[in-house]
């Protein structure tokens, strides 16, 4: 009887990955480098880098993503620190409350945000967009930072105090450097999706503000598969570069980091 190798178990996953991860990526790449008739061309790239409107959208998307990430970090770090501090927070329920919005679909949450802005008679637009982005992605910043802070050995803090560090110095010299992996994970988890989002910007700005995700969606909706794919590929490269960057930072000790 032939033995059933354990690696055979991976076959279904392999097929799944091929169909839903590798194939689409290959398709995007093929579409990017071809024109509507299917012949090889670099015209799509040329078009992107020579269309001021699209370049502007591209720069603007990165700007929005950066602003969102910075705001999430500024709001998320103190929140994570308070949540992980046993003296300030004694229950896991508060942690739950921060994570709870993630249980609800992002579109529903955003529609609710629109309704809330309506109710408060606040104008939709750029401000609403940033609010919606931060609101949606804040948990993705808090959670990895909370995780690293929570797992951090408290004896480091005691050792720093023992060596003469005031609470402020303990924070800047020990807590922050030791939680840097969580911060990097958080930045990645916020920056990656915000750069490509389009539903939030559509709903919260009444389609007035265009982000890169919107441009891709419009092109594909209008049958411009090749150009849409090109922008998607460029975006993927940008995200890929940020991932590589934080990966190399993460190598020193990867057991203490942790994406969710």
């Amino acid at each position: 009887m032939r033995t059933f190798k354990r690696s055979y178990w991976s076959v279904p996953y392999l097929i799944f990955m091929l169909m839903f991860v590798v194939m689409p990526l290959v398709m995007i790449a093929i579409y990017s480098f071809t024109d509507a008739s299917g012949s090889f061309t670099l015209a799509n790239f040329k078009r992107f880098f020579t269309t001021p409107e699209d370049l502007h959208t591209f720069a603007y998307s990165i700007e929005v993503a950066l602003i969102t990430t910075v705001l999430c970090l500024l709001l998320g770090y103190p929140a994570a620190w308070i949540l992980s501090n046993a003296k300030l927070n004694r229950s896991k329920v508060t942690v739950m409350l921060f994570i709870l919005p993630m249980w609800i679909n992002m579109l529903i949450r955003t529609l609710a945000t629109v309704a809330l802005f309506d109710f408060l008679r606040l104008p939709l637009g750029e401000g609403a967009l940033i609010f919606g982005m931060v609101y949606n992605f804040l948990p993705f910043m808090i959670y990895p930072i909370y995780n690293t802070l929570e797992k951090m050995d408290k004896s480091y803090i005691e050792a720093a105090q023992d060596l003469g560090a005031s609470p402020a110095k303990v924070f800047t010299k020990v807590t922050v450097p030791l939680s840097i992996h969580g911060v990097l994970s958080g930045i990645l988890m916020v920056f990656m999706p915000t750069i490509s989002t389009f539903a939030i910007s559509e709903l919260l700005t009444l389609n007035k503000v265009k982000l890169l995700g919107t441009t891709i969606q419009e092109n594909i909706n209008n049958g411009m598969w090749n150009y849409g794919s090109t922008i998607a590929l460029i975006m993927l490269l940008i995200i890929g570069v940020t991932t590589l960057f934080s990966d190399s930072e993460d190598k020193r000790d990867n057991e203490s980091g942790g994406l969710i």
Partner: protein
């Protein structure tokens, strides 16, 4: 003498979640002294050290350092440094920056930092390790860096929390010698926490033996070893034979059914005492048995390297531990002698269990948070009515222990075991936190959960106080 006191601990008490871990601790530590807090896990020694470092606050009492109250001073303003049990070296800094951490905070000029870090590294024989990542160091090396990081700040007092616990035996012995040498060289006060009695005896000028949040004895290693204050200390420090004895008159003691001469005086006539004899202090021989004070048969003989450890069963049925260079095979008839100054006599903490009780009714008494049936004591009971307070006594041997907690009237766990040569003397801690002493022939282990019952006729009612 009073002037060189650097740390003065006065009436310190501390509870965690209703459990008292330190009870009215008083301790004076002299400048330059090597003091060891010694005791089993959970005795409160680490809590004491954390209080000195400032990581825990006492519920009551105060800590004075050089005459100043530092009880409420935060850890970062205390002129002492700690070597942590698990080293707690900062993983994001290299060896140099770990050691320089405290100096940089004090804004010491960088050339002086450099000089002092190098000197500290030299002291712990870790020169040339400045650039190393702390994760790449062995346990022993990390330990050395942790010590260097503490002493580089030139603290007046160095606190060490079981610093050698994670090292293997050989390394531990080497480090002990190095620590002792370092203490001599630095001339500062070391306060050392350990559960290892041998380490405490090797290193310390003064040993503070602790158990259940109470200081049992303070003394030099010689004092603690030769003159233990009570049976806990005698049992915890080194090997010992602890036996029940009676003092008929000064310089005489009776135990294991024999009379011995001793050097202890000042006991009440016929006082019941605990007698401690160290196994290495018993002379053992197999010729001229008529010269022996008492005789017995060797039960077992184990080679321990330096000596042989033998268990001898005396004619009267006591098991005595003897250590000697000579080995006597099991079955050999041997004679034994003990010199008068090798016999150490201690007062007993109590002779029987005594409790405060309240009369309920119908031959029922309430004590230890439960109701107990009483028999006999007819005269006393006749005079009692509901709510009267009485004093009662129960002999150690009259307390019965059960395997199943629910079989007893109350439940508890074994907190301390003493072998008295032919029986065990146990301390049972009830769930309510009270202590019951039990004499038994049965073998129990520490922390065993037990049910406790007392026969109605074994409860003696002593004094009665009408309501």
């Amino acid at each position: 003498m009073a002037n060189d006191i650097i740390i003065d601990i006065e009436h310190i008490s501390k509870s965690f979640d209703g459990v008292q871990v330190l009870k009215d601790i008083n301790l004076k530590i002299r400048e330059g002294e090597f003091v060891t807090l010694l005791g089993p896990s959970g005795c409160g020694k680490t809590t004491m050290l954390r209080m000195l470092a400032g990581f825990a606050k006492p519920d009551e009492g105060q800590i004075l350092m050089e005459g100043k109250d530092i009880t409420d001073v935060p850890p970062y303003r205390r002129p002492l440094n700690t070597v942590f049990q698990k080293y707690a070296l900062f993983p994001h800094l290299d060896v140099y920056d770990n050691i320089a951490f405290g100096l940089k905070l004090q804004k010491v000029p960088s050339d002086e930092i450099d000089r002092r870090v190098r000197k500290a590294l030299k002291m712990v024989t870790m020169t040339d390790y400045e650039e190393r990542d702390v994760d790449s160091l062995s346990g022993g090396q990390q330990q050395r860096v942790a010590i260097a990081r503490a002493i580089v700040n030139q603290p007046k007092v160095l606190l060490l929390d079981e610093p050698l616990a994670a090292l293997d035996l050989k390394m531990r012995k080497d480090m002990q010698m190095e620590l002792k040498e370092m203490h001599r060289e630095l001339g500062i006060t070391f306060i050392y926490v350990t559960h290892d009695q041998e380490e405490a005896l090797t290193l310390s000028d003064t040993i503070v033996v602790m158990n259940e949040g109470v200081i049992q004895q303070i003394g030099t290693p010689e004092d603690i070893y030769n003159e233990p204050a009570n049976s806990f200390v005698a049992d915890f420090i080194g090997e010992s034979n602890i036996l029940n004895g009676i003092i008929p008159s000064d310089n005489h003691v009776q135990f294991i059914y024999h009379d011995f001469e001793c050097v202890d005086k000042g006991f009440a006539p016929d006082e019941h005492v605990d007698v401690v004899v160290r196994p290495e202090d018993i002379y053992i021989f197999s010729n001229n048995l008529d010269k022996a004070q008492f005789t017995g048969t060797v039960q077992s003989c184990i080679f321990k390297g330096v000596h042989n450890e033998m268990i001898v069963l005396t004619k009267e049925g006591y098991e005595i531990m003897v250590q000697d260079y000579n080995a006597f095979a099991p079955g050999t008839e041997v004679g034994m002698l003990i010199r008068p100054d090798d016999i150490h006599v201690m007062h007993k903490e109590c002779l029987c269990n005594s409790f405060e009780a309240e009369y309920v009714s119908d031959h029922k008494l309430r004590f230890l948070d439960a109701e107990w049936e009483v028999a006999g004591n007819d005269e006393a009971i006749a005079s009692l009515s509901h709510g009267d307070k009485v004093k009662i006594e129960v002999n150690f041997a009259d307390v019965d222990l059960m395997d199943q907690q629910e079989d007893g009237n109350i439940s508890g766990h074994i907190s301390f075991i003493l072998y008295k040569g032919n029986h065990y003397f146990l301390t049972v801690k009830t769930d309510g936190g009270e202590k019951i002493y039990v004499q038994t022939d049965d073998v129990w282990d520490k922390s065993d959960l037990v049910g406790v019952s007392i026969k109605p006729e074994s409860i003696r009612i002593l004094k009665t106080e009408q309501k």
